[in-house]
């Protein structure tokens, strides 16, 4: 039942766009992305795609509004916070955004990183030459999910239903095995440690979108 609900969602362009939006949100903030925050494109997109999915974006909109008015200052605030939450921090790194930090024995490049690499390669992707971070980084995983969804949609559009289903199954398996097992813990840590509301809200969005709380409700919805 869950998978039926899933497939409906996965083909929804909104859902895919939301994944893209989150993937960008969990990557290091640069000026061009921040401009989409400040000029409202990014929040607008999220509102447009998430509200029909039943996810409230009020919090993140408020968080974006709460950013400093000056572009430089806003970028600086976001970058300091990102560095603090996800790269290196004093007193200590609150939320390394890697699956391996939460699943397995606790050091990075563990089994989850290997599993992610395997999934990428099987889907016909390699990490880009200039990509410097680890394979099980949340941002990369989300981009992968979105890309798979887009591939599936393309295949469906081209009338290749079996291929579309295969890709959707890949996508679902990746979400189930590589993202869901650790995302709630990660989000909790972000929510606890974040000093600006933007990343707190972003984590909340990610969790409500990717780990819908009551699986039961999902099943009921799917069963109707």
């Amino acid at each position: 039942m869950e998978s039926m609900a899933w497939e409906r969602k996965a083909e929804d362009w909104r859902w895919l766009a939301a994944l893209r939006g989150l993937a960008r949100g969990f990557a290091y903030p640069d000026r061009s992305w921040m401009m989409t925050l400040l000029d409202g494109q990014w929040p607008a997109l999220l509102a447009e795609v998430l509200e029909p999915l039943g996810v409230s974006v009020e919090g993140i909109l408020r968080a974006v509004e709460g950013l400093p008015a000056s572009e430089d200052e806003a970028l600086r605030v976001l970058q300091i916070e990102y560095t603090y939450l996800f790269i290196n921090a004093v007193p200590h790194l609150p939320a390394p955004p890697y699956a391996s930090a939460y699943v397995g024995q606790g050091w990075l490049m563990g089994e989850p990183a290997e599993a992610a690499m395997r999934a990428y390669l099987q889907a016909g992707l390699a990490l880009a030459e200039d990509y410097r971070d680890l394979p099980d980084h949340l941002s990369v995983g989300l981009e992968f999910l979105a890309w798979l969804g887009e591939q599936a949609a393309d295949a469906a559009k081209a009338g290749d239903e079996p291929r579309s289903r295969t890709i959707l199954a890949q996508q679902q398996a990746f979400l189930r095995d590589q993202i869901r097992p650790w995302l709630p813990t990660f989000c909790r840590r972000v929510e606890e440690a974040a000093r600006i509301s933007f990343y707190r809200e972003l984590a909340g969005l990610a969790e409500s979108l990717l780990c819908p709380k009551p699986a039961l409700a999902d099943q009921l919805a799917g069963g109707k």
């Binding site: 397995g104 024995q105 606790g106 089994e111």
Partner: protein
């Protein structure tokens, strides 16, 4: 034909290289003080004639294994090469093995106290490696050749030769541990001193609780329940017949009152 490991404590330098590689190789849970093998140092005597002996503590893979007797799920099983394998997928965390082992080796990784969600942890002789012709990770790791993996018979003679060499060097108490204990261990130890100096029981026993359970409780249970069932069925059958007769006679059992 069975496989074993020989641990030469006289060559062990207590560096714990085996400890860390075992943990990595087997993906053992980190941070809960759970180890499939680790080094313990035992001190005997007094300054300045004190001695310190390292001992690699891990499952000894007994031939008469108490853990195997008490495991209700079959998570513990005897490998054809003689050692005792733990399949964590089958384990339901009952913890009986942790209580039965005369060496106190298996550890329980408790994930939830209330539901009792837990998994037993102990050395499985690197079963995937050894089943594919490899040696155990600790043996492959040891920088000082203190751990040898091989045929048990070969290791017995190797161990005895090493003991003889130690004795010749004046270590008169040197001995080989594990040849006969618990029906023969699949981890043999060259010790420089008495087993007690290493806190090893010289004659480890199957715990009384396990023996009682095996020899008495289970057969007794089967007998008593069986007898009760048989008795009741017999009573039922005979009484049914007899009582019917009584009713036909129109007397009933009440008449005698």
């Amino acid at each position: 034909m069975s496989k074993a490991m020989l641990v030469d404590t006289s060559a062990c330098l207590a560096c714990n290289a085996c400890t860390v590689e075992c943990k990595r190789e087997n993906g053992v849970v980190v941070g809960k003080d759970i180890f499939w093998t680790r080094i313990q140092t035992h001190e005997v005597g007094q300054y300045p004639t004190v001695r310190q002996y390292p001992l690699k503590r891990a499952c000894n893979h007994c031939t008469e294994a108490a853990c195997l007797s008490v495991c209700p799920t079959g998570a513990l099983s005897r490998h054809e090469e003689g050692f005792v394998v733990l399949n964590q997928d089958k384990c339901n965390g009952c913890g009986y093995c942790t209580q039965a082992c005369p060496f106190g080796i298996p550890q329980l990784d408790v994930m939830d106290q209330l539901s009792g969600k837990a998994k037993a942890n102990k050395c499985s002789f690197c079963v995937e490696r050894t089943s594919n012709g490899g040696q155990t990770a600790c043996a492959a790791t040891c920088p000082f050749g203190a751990i040898t993996y091989g045929e048990r018979d070969d290791l017995l003679s190797q161990g005895k030769a090493r003991v003889a060499a130690l004795q010749a060097k004046g270590k008169s108490k040197a001995n080989l541990y594990g040849e006969n204990q618990m029906g023969g261990l699949h981890v043999l130890y060259v010790l420089e001193d008495t087993p007690e100096a290493y806190s090893l029981p010289s004659q480890p026993q199957m715990p009384a609780g396990v023996t009682l359970w095996q020899r008495i409780t289970r057969p007794a249970g089967e007998a008593v329940i069986g007898l009760a069932a048989v008795g009741v069925l017999a009573a039922f059958a005979t009484a049914r017949r007899n009582v019917k007769i009584g009713e036909e006679e129109g007397v009933g059992e009440h008449e005698g009152d």
